[in-house]
């Protein structure tokens, strides 16, 4: 075991991305493919955005007023309170997580749809991999039980109902009864900025620890 296992995993994943077949495609072919993909993405984006606005935007919980999620510009986060930041991140993460993430998505992107936002964006690497029992690039985690598809799907329309904070950690309780733990991310000049909180644990005893009578 290394002192920072996450870093080892990140480096191996980065090395895997560097050898990705996409890098071997000739630049000219790549440019043509990119232009085509961009045109399709724009067309789809308009349709999906309209859909999102009409149906999927999560309603803020009574105790946690989350500003409307107009876009995901991380420069907006500093203007929110910690509780609002946690609520916004958890609300954005839930439907992505419910969409049964491809194990490759823990690498931080969906290889089939590189521009699509993935749940891993809002998660630290270990819980993402633990959820699917697959380690990046392609290693099965032994003695690991993946989260059930039913549990994952239950996040589809789930919204944050309550947030509890404890120092650098926070927990968000969803309308489906599940609780996730988030950890504050130290911003060290990385651009693009990561979300200010990342999900580090899904379910487990988080509810009791943050919302229970002895919390």
């Amino acid at each position: 075991v290394t002192r920072i296992p996450q870093l080892e995993q990140e480096l191996v994943a980065a090395a895997a991305r560097r050898r990705s077949p996409r890098r071997l495609v000739r630049p000219a072919v790549r440019a043509v493919l990119a232009a085509g993909a961009a045109a399709v993405a724009v067309a789809l984006g308009v349709v999906v955005a309209a859909d999102d606005d009409a149906e999927r935007r999560p309603q803020p919980a009574p105790g946690v007023q989350s500003p409307p999620a107009t876009n995901d510009d991380s420069s907006l986060y500093p203007s929110l309170s910690s509780r609002q930041q946690v609520a916004r991140i958890a609300n954005r993460w839930a439907p992505l997580f419910a969409a049964a993430p491809n194990p490759d998505a823990c690498a931080g992107y969906d290889p089939l749809h590189p521009s699509r936002e993935v749940a891993a964006k809002y998660m630290a690497q270990p819980p993402c991999e633990q959820a699917v029992c697959k380690r990046v690039p392609d290693e099965t985690i032994e003695n690991c039980t993946p989260l059930s598809p039913e549990f994952q799907r239950s996040f589809e329309n789930a919204t944050v109902e309550d947030v509890a904070e404890r120092g650098n950690r926070a927990a968000a309780r969803f309308s489906n009864g599940a609780t996730v733990v988030l950890q504050k991310v130290k911003q060290s000049g990385l651009e693009p900025r990561p979300p200010p909180w990342l999900i580090t644990k899904i379910g487990g005893d988080a509810y009791r620890r943050f919302f229970g009578p002895d919390s």
Binding site: T2, R3, I4, P5, Q6, L7, E8, E10, L11, V12, A13, A14, A15, A16, R17, R18, R19, G108, Y109, A120, A124, Q125, P137, E139, Q183, V185, K186, S188, G189, L190, E191, P194, L198, T200
Partner: protein
């Protein structure tokens, strides 16, 4: 991760990185402690040391295809990157992150356990090197920490190999005496 890489020399790991990502994982495991210890002794903060370590290995990963074993051993090459990363970060007043950005690496979120493991690294010996006289310090760093050849150090320091050997020997003697005295 396959343990087979653990027996491969550094140069082989760097050469294999392009086709076998796990090879770079083994390279990281092998040098993690020394790079972390190097930064910890200079910045004193485990989280900043971890950030600098992440940037150093990311830069090493990006440069691995350009690594030429004949020029310098891999450890010396890696410490060269570490020194540059530290110097650049000090100049900018924040931890350099260019290499991680380029590789689209996720930000490091250190657990309490990881911070404990980093803090457990004993930077005493490295800190004592800082207290050595200037000429011994340079020779010690180049030889013991960066693992450079005596000939290369002599060229860098513009003196003979014999002088470098003498400075390293004196430095080690002083270090040993101080460690025993602690």
């Amino acid at each position: 991760m396959s343990p087979v890489w653990d027996e491969t020399p550094d140069e082989g790991l760097l050469a294999a990185t392009r086709s076998e990502p796990a090879a770079f994982g083994a390279f990281y495991r092998r040098h993690e402690d020394r790079i972390l210890g190097y930064f910890l002794s200079r910045v004193g903060d485990p989280e900043v040391a971890a950030d600098l370590t992440a940037e150093t290995f990311a830069a090493a990963l990006s440069s691995a295809p350009r690594f030429r074993p004949r020029k310098a051993p891999a450890a010396a090459w890696l410490f060269g990157i570490a020194r540059n990363t530290l110097a650049m970060s000090r100049r900018q007043g924040r931890v350099e992150a260019r290499a991680r950005r380029r590789l689209r690496m996720a930000p490091l979120v250190l657990t309490d356990e990881a911070i404990e493991r980093i803090t457990a690294l004993d930077p005493t010996a490295l800190a004592l090197v800082d207290e050595l006289p200037g000429d011994q310090q340079d020779a010690m760093r180049a030889r013991v920490i960066d693992e450079q050849d005596y000939a290369d150090i002599a060229m860098d320091l513009r003196c003979s190999e014999a002088v470098v050997r003498k400075r390293v020997s004196r430095g080690l003697g002083t270090l040993r005496a101080r460690m025993e005295g602690k």
